[in-house]
């Protein structure tokens, strides 16, 4: 059961690293008889098949008061389907050594299956059952609810989770983006079996579906398998897009007091959407500012030069209806004020001063060089094929991206930095006992 911050970070990653191959890849677009489409990269060298898929609908669709519904569904899909009750279903999964996962994030509901080639027929049958005929039986329902509430209790006092919950709630208020994906201890007890049924009935549909596949399977067989797994799902309707949220509280500081030796700070403001013409320039800006592991400016100033923190990062989080740029740092209570001041200063410098050609080139080299290195297993390749589709980038995009990145000019980066960054708009949440920082009025 993954949590809020992680889900957002992953969502951000998917979009932030929208795909880049330093070498040409051969992606097959496969279409089944009934019209289900998937992207495939075949690799027969290991007898393993990985499939990642998603429906466009996630926690944002949770009804008010029933927050956590999508995640509840995700936790229930491997708890019995068709004529297999929970125990029987789990037995099959274990006996076949299948890895079957479902996950709700804000805007998508995703799943993945990994199977040994020899077990694929039965493995895909299990997936088909889970999606088409989930049982949502009483016994596992009660158990999963107890598990979800334990996990919420685990999160309750975790400083990173607190910072994330408070930040999103403060910035987005009652908009669905402001609500916790996992729900609350109160909301998950409001969720009834019929809520889960209604989620799976309305959102598991062919129109909403995106699929990426990698490993030891050919296009002909995949086409047949796609129908077996997804062919019986209803066609569905186009999904409504969310209203653009009103962002509240920009420029505020919120301190959540906890007696911890180290404060955790989460900060950010409005960023750019994935469809923005300045997206790639903004992507490079973030890489230079705080998205570059050890070679970012934030890391250099906060960690390398001053030893203020173990890690300091920034990232872009392009939700469908609004883009965000965010960052985080964890520093001793006595030093968090200094860290935040340095971060604001770097934010300001990046927005006002030009970057050098050298810095730009190095950022491009990293972006173009490192991306394919992340695709080091069929699971990650399938995830990537899915992410490109989630971001609506088209199959040719993969082999074009290096060129797109390389074409971004210094002026475009400067303009994007100016548009993107404004430390005056920071909403900062600090969890801990930070010295010299208090909540703004």
């Amino acid at each position: 059961m993954k949590k809020w911050l992680i889900q957002l970070a992953v969502l951000a990653l998917l979009s932030v690293f929208p795909i880049e191959f330093g070498w040409a890849v051969d992606i097959k677009k496969v279409e089944s008889k009934s019209g289900i489409r998937a992207w495939l990269i075949r690799n027969p060298s290991v007898p393993v098949i990985s499939m990642s898929f998603a429906f466009r609908s996630g926690a944002v669709s949770d009804p008010t008061g029933k927050e956590g519904r999508a995640q509840f569904v995700a936790s229930m899909l491997d708890e019995g389907a068709g004529d297999l009750n929970s125990e029987a279903f789990q037995e099959k999964i274990e006996d076949l050594s299948v890895r079957l996962r479902f996950r709700a994030s804000l805007e998508i509901f995703s799943g993945s299956i990994q199977t040994l080639k020899q077990n694929r027929a039965e493995a895909f049958k299990l997936l088909a059952l889970a999606l088409n005929k989930p049982r949502f039986d009483q016994d596992p329902f009660l158990r999963v609810r107890a598990q979800l509430s334990a996990s919420l209790r685990l999160d309750q006092e975790d400083p990173d989770r607190i910072a994330s919950r408070v930040w999103y709630r403060s910035v987005f208020g009652n908009h669905p983006y402001g609500r916790p994906i996992g729900g609350t201890l109160a909301s998950i007890y409001n969720i009834k079996r019929e809520d889960l049924v209604s989620f799976s009935n309305s959102f598991f549909s062919r129109k909403n579906l995106l699929i990426g596949v990698a490993g030891d399977i050919g296009p002909d067989e995949l086409s047949v398998r796609l129908d077996e797994i997804f062919g019986d799902l209803p066609l569905g309707t186009d999904r409504e897009t969310l209203a653009e949220p009103e962002i509240q509280l920009e420029g505020k500081t919120i301190v959540v007091e906890k007696s911890l030796p180290q404060s955790v700070a989460l900060f950010g403001h409005r960023g750019l959407k994935r469809t923005d013409p300045d997206w790639y320039a903004a992507y490079i800006v973030n890489r230079i500012l705080g998205g570059g592991g050890f070679s970012s400016r934030l890391m250099e100033e906060v960690r390398e030069k001053r030893g203020l923190a173990y890690g300091v990062y920034s990232w872009l989080n392009p939700l469908e209806s609004v883009g965000l740029i965010m960052g985080s740092v964890a520093t001793s209570n006595s030093r968090v004020k200094d860290s935040l001041e340095i971060i604001r200063e770097e934010w300001r410098k990046m927005s006002e001063l030009a970057i050098s050609d050298k810095e730009l080139q190095e950022a491009k080299n990293y972006i173009n060089g490192s991306f394919p290195l992340r695709l080091d297993s069929s699971r990650r390749i399938a995830q990537m094929l899915l992410a490109v589709q989630v971001n609506r980038l088209g199959v040719k995009y993969l082999n074009r991206r290096a060129h797109i990145i390389n074409s971004v000019t210094r002026d475009q980066v400067k303009k994007a930095a100016k548009r993107l960054l404004d430390p005056g708009l920071f909403t900062v949440v600090v969890v801990g006992k930070p010295a010299g920082i208090s909540s703004s009025q």
Partner: protein
């Protein structure tokens, strides 16, 4: 530079022995200075992982200098004769690669993931820092603050990590595994450049290191490069890793932590046992099968009994980590359901463990567990990073490539009597620590 720690208990523990020659097909060669070279060819993409593993970890630290192995790992990025401070990772990154390092009780490893065409560059950089580390006082002091912040994030801000620390000190009465890899705060505060350099000079030498390269290369291609960059480094004195041992354990130990930061209670128990290196005959393999049978998934004993039938727990797990130079650890953890007390869940757990030791384990259970474990070996082949990680852990903890190779076969040949014997040998309370994590009401002392 995350320079992160590998704490022993990840799922990699299970994973860590999923190898055999037909799985990874490693090729190996030893340079004249004693440095072992291992290559795993994987032609899925024109990329390589280049790793150097040193056979030294936190358990090799001088007394009173806990954390020096990990601190040195951080300082290895702070400059050499030819690479200015902080440049190492920047060079890798501007060449489109990523790099990092990690430290455990038994090993310290450095790696870069790069396009095949950049292999020679990273090899040159890595070979250089095996001998030419140069540290400035200023960099050392600021990096020490970074490590203290790292410790705060990982441990001082987290009650479960604090309990884990206490558990390890209780599990090991004498052996250095009792000290946390990251070090004790008061000792980290005193670590100096001199401490780091003397540790470096003692342990960082080609005869105490293993080069592992995985990806789009073969040993034939790697050999001349390794000869060129690592070959000229003179071998150091022979290093014998001989740590002080545990006395007989006579009393079961318990540690507990109660905190307002905890809302969900949980219980875990860890038993000290043998590792691959110290185990007699089939014991280490039998213990992996045992962990699978006890708590390895939804068909496991504890899951069926405590989660499904009795509805007393919401989650259970069991694990065994044999990949250690000296002692292995066998662990179990349980999270109670609803308001059930830890005392009640412990009672239920003990009943199950007694059952496993005294009543029969079925042939079917053994077969199922072995099948599931060996399937992991196939999945491991699907990942570029798995092979070098598994091989590195094995070779730095006294294992051989042949042992790795034989893993699936040895798991498949585990017999009922091996598992029953291993259970009776290992699941003995006096060899264990039971850890209790509980919520504390605010205002209560």
């Amino acid at each position: 530079m995350i320079r992160f720690l590998l704490l022993a208990l990840s799922s990699m523990a299970l994973f860590s022995f999923s190898g055999k020659t037909e799985v990874f097909n490693p090729e190996t060669h030893t340079l004249s200075n004693g440095m072992q070279v291992v290559v795993v060819t994987n032609r899925s993409a024109p990329a390589v992982v280049h790793m150097v593993w040193y056979k030294v970890g936190a358990a090799d630290e001088p007394r009173g200098q806990s954390g020096i192995a990990h601190f040195l790992e951080h300082l290895m990025f702070k400059g050499t004769k030819y690479t200015p401070p902080g440049e190492f990772s920047k060079i890798v990154s501007r060449n489109g690669g990523t790099d990092n390092a990690f430290t455990s009780q038994d090993f310290t490893a450095y790696y870069q993931k790069v396009a095949r065409t950049k292999l020679e560059l990273v090899m040159k950089l890595e070979a250089e820092r095996m001998t030419n580390l140069v540290l400035s006082e200023k960099d050392v002091l600021s990096e020490r603050d970074v490590v203290l912040e790292e410790r705060a994030s990982r441990t001082d801000n987290s009650p479960s990590a604090q309990l884990f620390e206490a558990q390890q000190t209780a599990l090991y009465l004498n052996h250095p595994y009792r000290n946390p890899v990251i070090g004790w705060e008061h000792e980290i505060r005193e670590l100096s450049a001199e401490n780091a350099l003397s540790f470096y000079k003692k342990f960082y030498a080609p005869n105490n290191a293993i080069l592992i390269v995985a990806g789009d290369v073969s040993l034939k291609e790697i050999k001349p490069l390794a000869e060129k960059y690592y070959g000229p480094i003179p071998g150091g004195a022979e290093i014998v890793r001989s740590r002080i041992l545990e006395p007989k354990h006579r009393a079961a130990r318990r540690v507990s932590l109660s905190s307002t930061q905890v809302r969900q209670p949980s219980l875990s128990r860890v038993y000290i046992t043998s590792s691959y290196r110290t185990a007699q005959k089939r014991e280490a393999y039998a213990l992996q099968v045992l962990a699978e049978i006890i708590g390895g998934g939804t068909r496991s004993r504890l899951y069926r009994s405590l989660v499904l039938d009795q509805k007393k727990a919401i989650s259970v797990s069991a694990w065994y980590n044999p990949t250690a130079l000296d002692y292995g650890e066998f662990g179990i953890s349980v999270t109670p359901r609803g308001n059930l007390s830890l005392a009640q869940i412990e009672k239920a757990l003990d009943r199950e463990l007694l059952e496993i030791k005294t009543k029969s384990i079925s042939a079917d259970e053994i077969k199922r567990a072995a099948k599931k474990l060996t399937a992991e070996a196939v999945y491991a082949r699907d990942s570029l990073m798995a092979a070098p990680n598994i091989i590195g852990r094995a070779l730095t903890t006294g294992q051989s490539l042949e042992n790795l190779e034989a893993w699936p076969e040895r798991i498949m040949s585990v017999r009922i009597e091996d598992v029953v014997a291993a259970a009776n040998e290992t699941l003995v309370l006096r060899n264990s620590v039971t850890s209790l994590l509980t919520p504390k009401k605010r205002g209560v002392q």
